[in-house]
């Protein structure tokens, strides 16, 4: 996979994960172009399209578009499963996830994605395993924080 984008129907980018080194300017251009192409698609159309020299797999969940750009020899159908798995992970984590969750907890969305995919490839096919890893990382963070709250109030 080359990159994954999450954006709203209004064209607001909510997450971008790039698996290939590209300049900031080039990225902005590609995002703008691709968003335009995907948002122009009618609701009943198929989830695959060709864009530049890549294949794009996209799926809309409520108000968010999940969009992956894959290469010529990659399997489109399994990419759909991949997107669905990511949404399931988000759903399990946030409990009935909606766009607002991803907006206000964008860093968590990234953390979850980074436990599921690496370099564009799937790291773990077990939902349980991925969620457990996130849980443990969150616990580590929490263990560190009571101290900082006290420090913040100038009491430690």
């Amino acid at each position: 996979m080359r990159f994954m984008l999450l954006f709203s129907r209004q064209g607001k980018l909510r997450l971008q994960k790039w698996y290939l080194a590209t300049s900031d300017k080039e990225r902005k251009k590609m995002v703008r172009e691709l968003m335009q192409v995907v948002l122009a698609r009618k609701p009943k159309m198929c989830s695959f399209l060709e864009w530049r020299d890549l294949k794009v797999v996209y799926k809309r969940y409520a108000s968010l578009y999940f969009c992956c750009a894959i290469e010529g020899q990659d399997n489109e159908l399994i990419t759909l499963e991949l997107i669905h798995r990511y949404v399931e992970l988000l759903d399990k984590y946030f409990g009935s996830v909606c766009e607002l969750d991803i907006i206000f907890n964008f860093e968590k969305a990234y953390f979850i994605l980074d436990e599921f995919l690496m370099g564009g490839d799937v790291q773990d096919t077990s939902k349980k395993s991925v969620l457990k890893a996130i849980e443990q990382a969150d616990l580590l963070q929490e263990d560190e924080s009571p101290r900082s709250v006290l420090e913040e109030m100038g009491l430690a």
Partner: protein, 785 residues
């Protein structure tokens, strides 16, 4: 006490509360100022929160480069919270183009060797997302250490990091290849999946690795078989399919290993048949596995029966109610239509059904596939379907459809009359979308079918009377009426309904076309000439024609004016010659041989370039570097020569006599390059009949002990030449005399200037990347004289 900084979620709320873009910018600028100040003061406690806010702002599109150094500090902090945000920042803000990114190498190294597992995970993830070649080089051994260490959590990540490292630094394959054999014995799905991905990457990059891993095909087959047969593990299954991600990845690796390798293909035959027949197709997960299986079957040396099974599966996909499945079926069938034509033909009716899809991405595919399926036995039925499609298809598909129908008609027309009818139909339905040479082709066709002159001219007359807006149709009709106007007056023909046309009506129609604002200058030219010809074909005193012609003597368009003046002269001073000059035209020699060649070449090039877009694109951009070395840019490398002018214009055409040039002696081959066993040879051909054309075949051979990979050859020629590089046969020459690479250059030298040729070679050999730029000396004179 300093007021505590805004929490991340509060900032987000505030930004979303802004009602205008300007307001949002204001909020963000204010906050960024605070953040910058906080960074300057070096507040370690809240640094992670400040960076998180900055990252949010960055996602919205605002600049955040001043946070780069803070990422470094956070990564170096012992706190997990800091590291988590710091590494995220590194992935979002640090760019391998800036030297700053190298500064995190040390922190990553420390975290990899001494960190707790979650920290090691963060470091590996960051490395695999934004690790540059230098970083990968430095950290390879650290990652290698983590491949076989106990915790699966870290190992699976280390393996995928290795995949990224090999992509960045192919030389690292030597470090990461050996552990693979042991890793394949693992049972943890994540580790197995990563290993298969790693092996795939290794095999794609090196023929030696490919040969090495062909030995593990039996083991892979066993792994997949176990997955498929021993049911159901809730943890890894989707819709009842055991770990479809892993299945697909194994199938993909098997495809690469079985390609062109009889032994491996045979080993996997049974398993592929098993997966193909037993996978549940009710949900997408199953279909994904089935799809990958089909792709693998088609790409390896599989038994004929298995191939037919695969095509049939695709045929079933075409009937699936899920659009996505139909889409992948159409795409795959298109790839197979050349190699397995008869198997795909069986599904022709279903493919034709897909023409009626409402989704244009599907109908586009269906169109391409339908055109590829036309053959001499089904041409009538298919053309009917395609013509029906042409009438209702979306505008962006019209051109393809029209030219597709015309091409199919040309190749498979059962009778001339059918051919003429078909072209006529296309011109009436989609005249504006046809290619420029369609007019010339149709004229040629009609001219050659003497028995159909009357029929053609009648049909064209009716079509023209009905609609004068479609320019190609008008042009052909005008030419025909000019040539065969006398046949129009004759009235009856058993083939069509009787058409009673008088000479005044013919002239009136042509005048209407002449005066219409829809007619292009070229069209007017056709009509003017037609009118002139009619002066000898129609009875009457030609006054009307003479009037029209003389009016155009003062037309603003130079071409029309010239014709009119010449025709006028014909009427006045040279009236005795008029009949002879305007006689019926003999059949024009198909000087379209050159034209066809170009058309085929550019179609070929278009198909090839579709298959290998990545290889042609960088060639085109890098070519400019090379071209600076010779005298100036030599123009577009892919420029076919101009088409022949239409036969209605040049009367001088009749005087061109075809002549056979004497056959030329063969030109000797030339060895132009040799380095450590790698040789480049040029062989030359000057095809007779096209004196300006030179074909050079470049052959790359390898007698050394090491493989040559990633071979690219670029060329430049002086300005007056036209150079076209065809796609090479491959980019790898295996060691010890393995299959050489061949590439064809086409060089056009219309001015017969002395040929100069400069070549640039890049390739990998013995682990080094080689670049050579040189001018070819001693080019034989026969190549350009």
């Amino acid at each position: 006490m300093v007021a505590p900084s805004l929490k991340l979620q509060d900032l987000i709320r505030e930004i979303r509360g802004a009602r205008t873009q300007a307001q949002e910018r204001e909020v963000i600028q204010k906050e960024c100022a605070h953040i910058r100040a906080s960074f300057r003061n070096g507040d370690p406690l809240h640094r992670h929160r400040q960076l998180a806010k900055l990252l949010y702002v960055h996602i919205l599109g605002y600049p955040a480069h001043f946070g780069q150094m803070e990422c470094l500090k956070l990564i170096a902090s012992p706190r997990f919270t800091d590291k988590r945000v710091g590494y995220l920042g590194a992935m979002l803000l640090l760019d391998e183009r800036h030297d700053a990114h190298l500064l995190i190498t040390n922190s990553i190294k420390n975290d990899l060797s001494q960190g707790i597992q979650p920290v090691q995970g963060l470091a590996l993830c960051t490395l695999s997302t934004m690790g540059s070649a230098e970083m990968c080089q430095d950290l390879a051994t650290e990652v290698e250490k983590l491949l076989l260490k106990p915790s699966p959590y870290v190992r699976k990540k280390a393996i995928l990091t290795a995949v990224h490292m090999i992509r960045k630094v192919p030389g690292l394959s030597s470090i990461f290849l050996p552990p693979c054999t042991q890793l394949l014995h693992e049972r943890h799905h994540g580790i197995l999946l990563g290993t298969i991905t790693l092996i795939t990457e290794l095999c794609e990059r090196s023929p030696a690795a490919l040969r090495h891993f062909q030995k593990v095909v039996p083991q892979l087959v066993q792994i997949l078989r176990t997955l498929v047969t021993t049911g159901y593990s809730t943890e890894h299954s989707i819709s009842g399919i055991s770990d479809p991600f892993l299945q697909v990845q194994i199938l993909r690796l098997l495809r690469i290993l079985g390609r062109n390798h009889e032994e491996s293909s045979e080993t996997m035959n049974d398993l592929l048949a098993q997966v193909a027949t037993n996978t549940d197709t009710s949900r997408n997960a199953g279909n994904a596995v089935l799809f990958e299986t089909v792709l693998t079957i088609m790409d390896i040396r599989s038994a004929a029966g298995l191939r037919v099974l695969a095509v049939n599966i695709l045929g079933c996909f075409l009937l699936n109610s899920d659009k996505n499945i139909r889409y992948v079926a159409l795409t795959s069938l298109l790839r197979l239509v050349q190699s397995d034509h008869s198997a795909v033909q069986r599904h022709r009716p279903t493919v034709v059904e897909c023409l009626r899809e409402t989704d244009t991405s599907l109908s586009r595919r269906a169109l391409e596939l339908s055109l590829a399926l036309v053959n001499s036995s089904n041409v009538r039925a298919m053309t009917q379907e395609l013509q029906a499609f042409l009438e209702f298809c979306p505008p962006d598909l019209r051109a393809n459809c029209a030219s597709g129908i015309l091409l199919a008609a040309e190749r498979f027309a059962p009778t001339k009359r059918w051919h003429i009818d078909t072209i006529l139909h296309v011109l009436t339905t989609a005249g504006t979308y046809v290619r420029d040479d369609a007019v010339a082709n149709l004229i040629q066709l009609i001219g050659g079918a003497q028995e159909l002159h009357a029929y053609s001219v009648r049909r064209l007359y009716s079509a023209l009377a009905h609609d004068i807006s479609q320019q190609p149709l008008v042009q052909v009709a005008a030419w025909c009426i000019g040539e065969y106007g006398d046949l129009l007056l004759e009235g009856n023909s058993e083939e069509t309904e009787p058409l009673q046309v008088g000479d005044e009506e013919i002239l009136a129609l042509l005048e209407k076309v002449l005066q219409s604002h829809m007619s292009l200058p070229a069209t007017r030219g056709y009509v003017l000439t037609a009118l002139m010809k009619l002066s000898t074909r129609l009875p009457g005193d030609n006054n009307r024609i003479r009037q029209v012609v003389s009016i155009y003597g003062s037309c603003l368009d130079v071409e029309l004016q010239q014709r009119a003046v010449e025709y006028n002269a014909l009427f006045r001073k040279y009236d005795y010659m008029r009949a002879a000059i305007l006689e019926k035209m003999p059949l024009v020699e198909r000087g379209g041989r050159q034209v066809d060649e170009e058309a085929e070449e550019s179609k070929e090039a278009a198909q090839l370039s579709e298959a290998a877009p990545v290889s042609t694109e960088p060639q085109a951009s890098k070519l400019l570097d090379l071209l600076d070395l010779l005298d100036g840019p030599s123009g577009d490398a892919q420029h076919p020569p101009p088409l022949d002018p239409s036969p209605g214009v040049a009367l001088g055409h009749l005087l061109d006599l075809p002549c056979e040039p004497p056959p030329l002696a063969p030109i000797p081959n030339l060895r132009v390059f040799e380095r450590k066993g790698v040789q480049l040879n040029l062989s030359f051909i000057r095809p007779p009949g096209t004196p300006a054309l030179l074909l050079i075949t470049v052959t790359v051979t390898n007698s050394s002990g090491g493989d040559v990979t990633h071979f690219i050859c670029q060329a430049a020629v002086p300005k007056s030449f036209q150079l076209q590089l065809q796609v090479p046969s491959g980019d790898t020459v295996p060691a010890q005399g393995g299959l050489p690479i061949t590439q064809l250059f086409r060089i056009l030298n219309p001015n017969k200037a002395p040929l100069r040729l400069k070549l640039r070679l890049t390739y990998n050999h013995f682990g080094q990347s080689v670049q050579e730029i040189f001018e070819v000396n001693n080019l034989p004179m026969e190549t350009w004289q």
